[in-house]
């Protein structure tokens, strides 16, 4: 098992012999409805200084371009169209060469890689320009102790560019955990794995566990909740379903739940990472509970004879959306985290839990509240197909984003813009991971070394 240690990235502001500032509205990606109008961005290869820097400069610019191109907010200008070449980060660019028809870049990123021959540390410097405004928007430098971590620098730069130009937080310097499945192996087998958000640096996280289910990233820390089927220590022919809390940075983990008379599963962190909501089945009946990680206390939230599962918190932690078949078939419901009745958005009546999905004949599940709070992602089964969709917390605006043979298990990017999910393309095909913009545009495969299920998108790295 290879472990890429998370490193600290030093940040410094980059002072420029500034181009003359022209008073004008700041350059920003336009939004129509919820769709970005893609901004044309040009990213020439970065300049290089020091041993091995040229290769890193090329690779880093490639990853930066790929990150931005994977978002619906940007359209990358083809390098072949560039007029000005060999840009020097110390000098302003020739803006006319970038605004001319045929290039028509709205934003330009100029960068340089420096490998220090003594310490071998790696520094990236970059400047973001508003081409038509002929001004610098942003400049920064990042350093890491070794060139091995160059990909993270590319993601940091991509997050800065994204965040400067869209006004939203970025999501490129983050990781996705998932269950790795080897085709042909016994179906229960699955190993916890993690990779960069773009599919790079995939590795297994645990050596001893081979039947992992439902990993769920902490929204704040490099911690993961997951379930695992393990042999019952008392009766080795029997199996227990345990819930583990795993700290990726230390490798330490603890068993959160193991009761001889119940089964716990579907655990998910609260937004502050301090408690978890989960399902517990007792005598066949599944209800939702909340567990306080620091105090070790738990509260029961549902007391219904139906299946209540897949709880997910609102970003303020006050509400929980979940899946229940208390009505006819599985639907999405919402309740207060403190157990008090709430006024239902549709019926205006006060209920212990309010139904928010109503499509007849459709079976809803996997609800996951966006970290922005505006949407709840879900999977829905209708006409024999499983799709990923989003719905507003008041039950309005239902929109289906994807339609494969079986799409399920959505998870939001840390900025609530993109959803990663599991897709089985056709009967008998192996499950793979895909991402889609919340508008339903831009469905993309995220390559994994083997088959993969249950992706969970972690927070931005620190």
């Amino acid at each position: 098992m290879r472990t890429l240690k998370l490193i600290t990235i030093a940040i410094a502001a980059l002072v420029l012999p500034a181009a003359p500032a022209v008073a004008q509205p700041p350059l920003k990606v336009q939004v129509v409805g919820e769709e970005y109008v893609p901004m044309r961005v040009a990213i020439p290869d970065f300049d290089a200084e020091g041993p091995g820097a040229e290769q890193v400069a090329r690779d880093l610019a490639d990853v930066l371009r790929a990150d931005l191109a994977s978002s619906t907010a940007f359209a990358l200008v083809d390098k072949a169209a560039f007029i000005e070449r060999d840009l020097d980060i110390a000098l302003p660019p020739t803006f006319g060469d970038w605004s001319v028809a045929g290039v028509a870049a709205q934003a330009l990123v100029v960068g340089k890689i420096v490998v220090n021959p003594g310490s071998n540390s790696l520094t990236v410097q970059f400047r973001l320009y508003d081409v038509y405004g002929q001004s610098q928007l942003f400049a920064r430098e990042y350093s890491v102790p070794t060139p091995l971590n160059w990909r993270r620098l590319a993601h940091k730069v991509a997050d800065d560019v994204y965040s400067r130009l869209t006004g939203d937080e970025g999501y490129f310097d983050s990781r996705i955990a998932f269950v790795s499945k080897t085709p042909g192996e016994e179906s229960l087998r699955g190993r916890l794995a993690i990779m960069d958000q773009d599919g790079a640096n995939a590795e297994f996280l645990l050596s001893g566990f081979s039947a992992v289910i439902n990993p769920r990233f902490s929204p704040t820390e490099q911690m993961i909740l997951y379930g695992a089927y393990v042999p019952d220590p008392k009766y080795p022919q029997a199996t227990l379903l345990r819930t583990y809390l795993y700290d990726i940075s230390t490798g330490r983990q603890e068993i959160l739940a193991e009761n001889p008379n119940s089964m716990e599963y579907s655990a998910r962190f609260s937004p502050d990472g301090k408690s978890i909501a989960f399902s517990r089945s007792v005598n066949g009946n599944a209800d939702i509970y909340v567990f306080d990680l620091a105090r070790g206390t738990e509260r029961r939230l549902t007391r219904d004879s139906g299946v209540d599962t897949s709880p997910s918190f609102s970003p303020d932690g006050k509400r929980i959306v979940f899946e229940s078949d208390r009505g006819l078939g599985p639907q999405l419901y919402m309740m207060n985290e403190n157990g008090e009745a709430m006024e239902c958005p549709t019926s205006r009546t006060r209920e212990a839990a309010c139904r928010i999905s109503f499509e007849t004949g459709a079976r809803f599940g996997d609800p996951v509240w966006s970290p922005r709070g505006d949407w709840i992602a879900f999977s829905v089964q209708r006409r024999g197909q499983f799709a990923i969709g989003v719905i507003q917390p008041d039950g309005k605006g239902l929109r289906v984003l994807s339609d494969g043979y079986q799409d399920e298990a959505p998870s939001w990017s840390p900025n609530g813009r993109v959803i990663v999910f599991q897709r089985t393309q056709a009967k008998g095909a192996g499950p793979k991971l895909f991402s889609v913009d919340l508008t339903g545009r831009n469905t993309r495969r995220i390559a994994t070394p083997r088959d993969a299920t249950n992706p969970t998108w972690g927070p931005l790295l620190k």
Binding site: D232, V307, P330
Partner: protein
């Protein structure tokens, strides 16, 4: 530990065994159970090629073993789509499990609930839990001690049939009774 290989006990269990009900798909033998250590008196036949291991002959599975349970009782009952209720046929099948468990009171079982691939992972874990509990509750109602039964749900993650059609799904909606403590040492 008890090592009971009594012929009379064997016969009684055979009489009580009930075959799978017609509406249900045929039960599949579980993947080869762990070897029963030397409890079986090996017959001195060598020449013919080995026959399938499950055929219940008098020299077959050791009485009180997991294989014996599977041979004499229907070890799996099946459910309709999104259902977990037991019908009369299921209860007849489970009566054989009850009889076997009463005959070997030192045994212990794990009832495993399974679901087909349609439905979310979490919902199917819950549904498999309902199915396992339906069987466990029935066994308890027939006098099998609470302390001898545990349940687990594998949801849709451990299908009996890896196919993706109605027939496969029907086979995958089941509860399997797994003997975890045999009545042999």
């Amino acid at each position: 530990m008890m090592r009971s290989i009594s012929l009379s006990a064997l016969t009684a269990a055979v009489v009580l065994s009930v075959s799978a009900c017609a509406s249900n798909p045929p039960p599949e033998p579980e993947p080869a159970p762990p070897a029963v250590e030397k409890a079986v008196v090996t017959p001195p036949r060598v020449s013919p090629p080995p026959s399938p291991p499950v055929a219940p002959t008098p020299s077959g599975p050791a009485a009180g073993s997991r294989a014996d349970f599977s041979a004499k009782a229907t070890d799996r009952v099946y459910f309709d789509y999104d259902q977990y209720n037991l019908d009369d046929a299921d209860r007849r099948a489970l009566a054989a499990q009850v009889a076997w468990l009463k005959q070997y009171p030192t045994t212990r079982v794990e009832v495993q609930g399974h679901a087909d691939e349609r439905g979310t992972k979490d919902y199917n874990i819950a549904l498999g839990g309902r199915r396992a509990d339906a069987v466990a509750a029935y066994l308890k109602s027939q006098g099998i001690a609470d302390t001898r039964i545990q349940t687990i749900s594998f949801g849709k993650d451990k299908p009996l049939d890896t196919g993706h059609d109605e027939a496969a799904w029907a086979r995958n909606r089941n509860a399997f009774t797994n003997v975890i403590v045999e009545a042999i040492s």
